[in-house]
Amino acid sequence: MNIPLNASQLDNNGRRVVVDPVTRIEGHMRCEVNVDSNNIIRNAVSTGTMWRGLEVILKGRDPRDAWAFVERICGVCTGTHALTACRAVEDALDIQIPYNAHLIRHLMDKTLMAHDHIVHFYHLHALDWVNPVNALKADPRKTSELQKMVSPSHPKSSPGYFRDIQNRLKKFVASGQLGLFKNGYWDNPAYKLSPEADLMAVTHYLEALDLQKEIVKIHTIFGGKNPHPNYLVGGVACAINLDDVGAAGAPVNMTSLNFVLQRIKETQEFTKNVYLPDVMAIGGLYKDWLYGGGLASENVLAYGTYAQTPYDSSTDMLPGGAIVNGNWNEVLPVDVRNPDEIQEFVDHSWYRYANGAKGLHPWDGETAPSFELGPNTKGTKTDIKELDEAHKYSWIKAPRWNGHAMEVGPLARYIVAYASGQEAVKEQVDRSLATFNQNTGLDLGLKQFLPSTIGRTLARALECDLVVDSMLDDWHALVNNIKAGDSSTANVEKWDPSNWPKEAKGVGTNEAPRGALGHWIKIKDGKIENYQAIVPTTWNGSPRDSDGNIGAYEASLLNTPMERPEEPVEILRTLHSFDPCLACSTHVMSEDGDEMTRVKIR
C-alpha cells in the first residue's frame, strides 16, 4: 500500500468527519478526517487539545525534585518520566547508581511496561475489536472450547465460568443502564468476532481488571505507591535489609522480595495464557483488516533500553536506532545530544519561535504559545467545528529526526530490534507471523504483516511477554548480588548541591510504553535552568512540519475504509493501536509563563 506521507499528497475535498473527544486515551485529543465517495480516508488531522506547561514550572527548582514534577506529566505511564528525569540529572552531574538500584529501577520500569500494555489492550483498545453486546448471543460451551483451543493452559475455561459471566452481562445490559458501553457502535459491521470470541474477550476484560491491580504492587514495594511511585536521584530510596535488626520494617526484605516474585509470576502467567493468545486470536479473526501501518513501514525510531550491563547501551535488551525510507537493512545510530539530529518544529503547532527559527534541539528549545486558527477554520475560537490544518492546529509540536517524521513505540522498537538482529525478538516475530499465516491461510511477508494496526498491537503483546520474562532474570540478579554481599541502593556522593559544578547539562532517555522518551536538562547554580522533554506521543501525534511531512497518527489513518463514517470505529482502532497519551505530549510551556497570545481567526 502506498501511503502518502506529505500534506501536499493529501486530498481534503471529501466529507469531513470530526471525532472530539477521542476517548479511551490518556488526555484530550481531536481527530478530523476527510473521506472520499467510497468512505476511504484521504486526509487526516490529529490535534492535541490540552496544554499544561510543566517545563516552565520546573525552572529554578531543585533538580533532585524534578522527577516528582515530571512524573505528573502522566499517571498512566507512571514512573517512566520520573526515571528519565533521574537519568537526566545523573547524566548532568555524572552520578552512577549502584547495581542494585539499576536492577530495582528496571523491575519498576518493566512493571509499568507490563501493566500499561495489558491495561491498554483490554481497557483502552479491546472495544475497538470486541463487541460486548454480541457476547450475549454466545454459547458458553463453545466459548469454553474456544478458550481451551486458544490457550490450553488457562485454568479459567469451564462452560459454567463463561455462563456466569454471560449472565452477569445479560442482566447488566437488560437494566438499560449500559454505563461505559453506552452509545457504543455495537451494530456496526466493522465488528467481526463471533459471539463466542466476544464473550471470551469480555471475560478477559474483567480478568485483566482484577490482575492489573496486582502487577503494580511491585511499585508499591519499591516506590511506596502506585500510581506515582517515588524515585530518587542517585539510586533508589528502598534500602535493603535481609537479615539484620530492623529487617522486618525495611523496604526490601525477604518477605517483600518474595512478594515481588509472586507478582512477576502472576503477570507472566496472564501474559502467556491470556494476553498474547487473545491478541493472536483476535488478530487472526481480523486477517482482512491490515490497515494502519502508516509511517511504520518507512521511518521508525528507538533510543533503546534495558541494558544488561549498566551504562553500556550495546547490551540493551531492546536496542536503539533509526530506520528511514523503509530500509530495514540499515539501522542508523541516534545521538540525542547532537543539535542537528532531533529538532522540534512549530509551523503547525500553537507555538512560535523567536527569530524565525525553524527547528530547535531540545537543549535550546523554546515554547512560547501562539493560539491561532487558520482562515479556513469553521466555527469560532471557543466553538471549533472544523480546523484548518494548513495553519496551526495542535498543542503538540512536531519533532523530527534528521528532518524525518518518525514512528516510535512497541512496533518501532520491534522493527529496530528485528532489523538489528536481536535474537529473542526475531524468534518471537517469526513465530507469530508463521502462526498467523497458518491460522489464516494467508502467506504474508513480514513487511506486509508487521507495519499495520494489528502488527502494532501484536508488537505490544510480544514486548510484554519479553519484558515480563526478563523481570525474573532481574529478580534473580538482584538476589544474587545481595547474596554476594552488596546491599547498596544509593550513591550519595553528589547528593549535596555544594558538590555540583556551577553549570551542567544532561540528557536522560528511556523507552516508555508508548515509545522513545527523552528529557534534556540544564542546571545552573544548583537550580534547573532549562528543562525539555520530547515524549512518545509528541512523535506519533505530531502535526505537520515546515516541509509538510505528516506524523505517525495522521499517516496511519490514510487509505482506511470506514464502514460508517459517522461511527469512527476504524479511526479509534488505529489511533488506539498507538496508545495515545496526550497529557504527555502537550505539557510543554512558555519561557515567561503568563503572556498569552490572543487568538486570531484569519
Binding site: 470530526v18 472530539d20 473527544p21 477521542v22 476517548t23 479511551r24 486515551i25 490518556e26 484530550h28 490540552m50 496544554w51 499544561r52 506547561g53 527548582r61 531543585d62 533532585r64 516528582a68 514534577f69 505528573r72 502522566c74 499517571g75 452477569r168 443502564q177 454505563g179 458501553f181 457502535y185 491491580k213 508499591t220 516506590g223 511506596g224 505507591k225 502506585n226 500510581p227 506515582h228 511511585p229 517515588n230 533508589v236 530510596a237 534500602a239 530492623g246 525495611a250 517483600s256 493560539f371 466555527g379 475560537k381 471557543t382 466553538d383 471549533i384 546491599s487 541502593t489 544509593a490 547528593w495 459517522e566 461511527e567 469512527p568 479509534l572 497529557a583 509563563g593 498569552m596 487568538v599
Partner: protein, 363 residues
C-alpha cells in the same frame, strides 16, 4: 423522575442471594470502621436508595486518579462499575467517542436531573478563554459548568480538582483553577492526593451510596474519615521519631533499619491523609515504608513549599525545628541517649500541642 434501581435490586438481579447481600453489608460496615449495629442500617439503605449515575469529567490532569480508582480491591472496581453505580460518561474508559460520547453525557444530564454525581478529575485552565483544554471543540470549563448545573453533588478527585496541583504550581501558566472556584453552588467533596488512595476513592463513593449523604467534611471540604489525621500520627516509624532515631542520608544503616525519615524531608508530620493507615494498593505498603519520605501530595500547594528533601524546619507552623535538629545531632554524634530522649520528649510535647490546634486550623 425515572426509577433508578436500588443497590439491592441490582444485586438481586445479578443473582446475589439475600445472605450474600447481608454479608456484603457487614463487610462494608467493617471497611468503614462501623460497629455491627450499623449493618441493618446499611442493608436498609441499600435496599431503598436508588442506584446513582456518575459522570466523570477530565480537565487538565494526568489520569493518575482514574488509574488509582481502577486499583481498588475492596470493592473491586469491576463490581463498582457493573453493579454499584452507572458510570455513564468517562472519556478514559467509555466505548463511545465524539458525538456519541457527548450524547451519552447529555442523556444522563437530562434524564437524571438533580440525581447524578459529578466526579471531576483535573481542573479547568482559565487563560486563553479556556482553550488550553478543549473538549468537543469547546473549552473544558464550559463542559464542567454545564455538567455541574444539575448534579446532586460534586466529587473533586485528587489534588488537581481539589487544589490545582502541578499545573497550578508557580507560575501557573494556564491559570489552572481548582473546581470549587468555578462551581460555587454545589456541595463539593474534596478527595485530594496525587493520586488519592484507591480504597479511599471507592470508600467515599460507597459511603455516599450506602448512607445517602455526604461524608462529614472538614473546613477544607475533605472527608474527615480519611483526612482527619496526619500521616505522622499513625506512622509505623513514629516510635523512631519519638526516640530520636533518624535516617541521616540515603541508604545509611538507619535507612536499612527503617528509622524515621524526618531529616531527609518527610512531610508526614504536616500531611493529612490515610497513607499510614489504609496504605496503598490493597494495604501493600506506603511511601515511608518503601524508604522515601512523604512528599505531602494531598496538601494544598505542596509543589511550592520548597524541596521535597528540605526538613520541615522551614515550615513555621510545625515549630519543632530546633529540638528535632538537636535530636539528630545528638544521635549522629553518639552523645548520650538520655539527652536525645529528653529532647525527643520535649519535641513530642510541642508537637502534640500543635496537634490540638491544627485539628481546627487545618481547615
Amino acid at each position: 423522575m425515572s426509577h433508578i434501581e436500588t443497590f439491592y435490586e441490582v444485586m438481586r438481579r445479578q443473582g446475589i442471594t439475600r445472605r450474600s447481600f447481608m454479608k456484603y453489608c457487614s463487610l462494608t460496615a467493617a471497611a468503614l470502621g462501623l460497629s455491627p449495629a450499623f449493618v441493618p442500617q446499611i442493608a436498609n439503605a441499600m435496599e431503598n436508595k436508588p442506584r446513582t449515575p456518575v459522570l466523570w469529567l477530565h480537565g487538565l490532569e494526568c489520569t493518575c486518579c482514574s488509574e488509582s480508582f481502577i486499583r481498588s480491591a475492596h470493592p473491586l472496581v469491576k463490581d463498582v462499575v457493573l453493579s454499584m453505580l452507572s458510570l455513564d460518561y468517562d472519556d478514559t474508559l467509555m466505548a463511545a467517542a465524539g458525538h456519541q460520547a457527548e450524547e451519552a453525557l447529555e442523556d444522563t444530564i437530562e434524564k437524571y436531573k438533580g440525581e447524578y454525581i459529578l466526579a471531576v478529575e483535573g481542573n479547568p485552565p482559565l487563560n486563553e478563554d479556556g482553550m488550553f483544554c478543549i473538549i468537543g471543540g469547546k473549552p473544558f470549563v464550559d463542559q464542567l459548568k454545564h455538567a455541574a448545573k444539575h448534579a446532586k453533588a460534586v466529587i473533586a478527585w485528587g489534588s488537581c480538582a481539589s487544589w490545582g496541583c502541578v499545573q497550578a504550581a508557580r507560575p501557573n501558566p494556564t491559570q489552572a483553577t481548582p473546581i470549587h472556584k468555578v462551581i460555587t453552588d454545589k456541595p463539593i467533596i474534596k478527595v485530594p492526593g496525587c493520586p488519592p488512595i484507591a480504597e479511599v476513592m471507592t470508600g467515599v463513593i460507597t459511603y455516599m451510596l450506602t448512607f445517602g449523604k455526604l461524608p462529614e467534611l472538614d473546613r477544607q471540604g475533605r472527608p474527615k474519615m480519611f483526612y482527619g489525621q496526619r500521616i505522622h500520627d499513625k506512622c509505623y516509624r513514629r516510635p523512631h521519631f519519638d526516640a530520636g532515631q533518624f535516617v541521616e542520608e540515603w541508604d545509611d544503616e538507619f535507612a536499612r533499619k527503617g528509622y524515621c525519615l524526618y531529616k531527609v524531608g518527610c512531610k508526614g508530620p504536616t500531611t493529612y491523609n490515610a497513607c499510614s493507615t489504609v496504605r496503598w494498593n490493597e494495604g501493600t505498603s506506603f511511601p515511608i515504608q518503601a524508604g522515601h519520605g512523604c512528599i505531602g501530595c494531598s496538601e494544598d500547594g505542596f509543589w511550592d513549599k520548597g524541596s521535597f528533601y528540605n526538613r520541615l524546619t522551614d515550615i513555621h507552623q510545625f515549630g519543632i525545628e530546633k529540638n528535632a535538629d538537636e535530636i539528630g545531632t545528638a544521635v549522629a554524634g553518639g552523645v548520650g541517649a538520655a539527652i536525645a530522649a529528653h529532647a525527643a520528649v520535649s519535641a513530642i510535647k510541642r508537637l502534640s500541642g500543635n496537634n490540638e490546634n491544627s485539628e481546627d486550623t487545618s481547615a
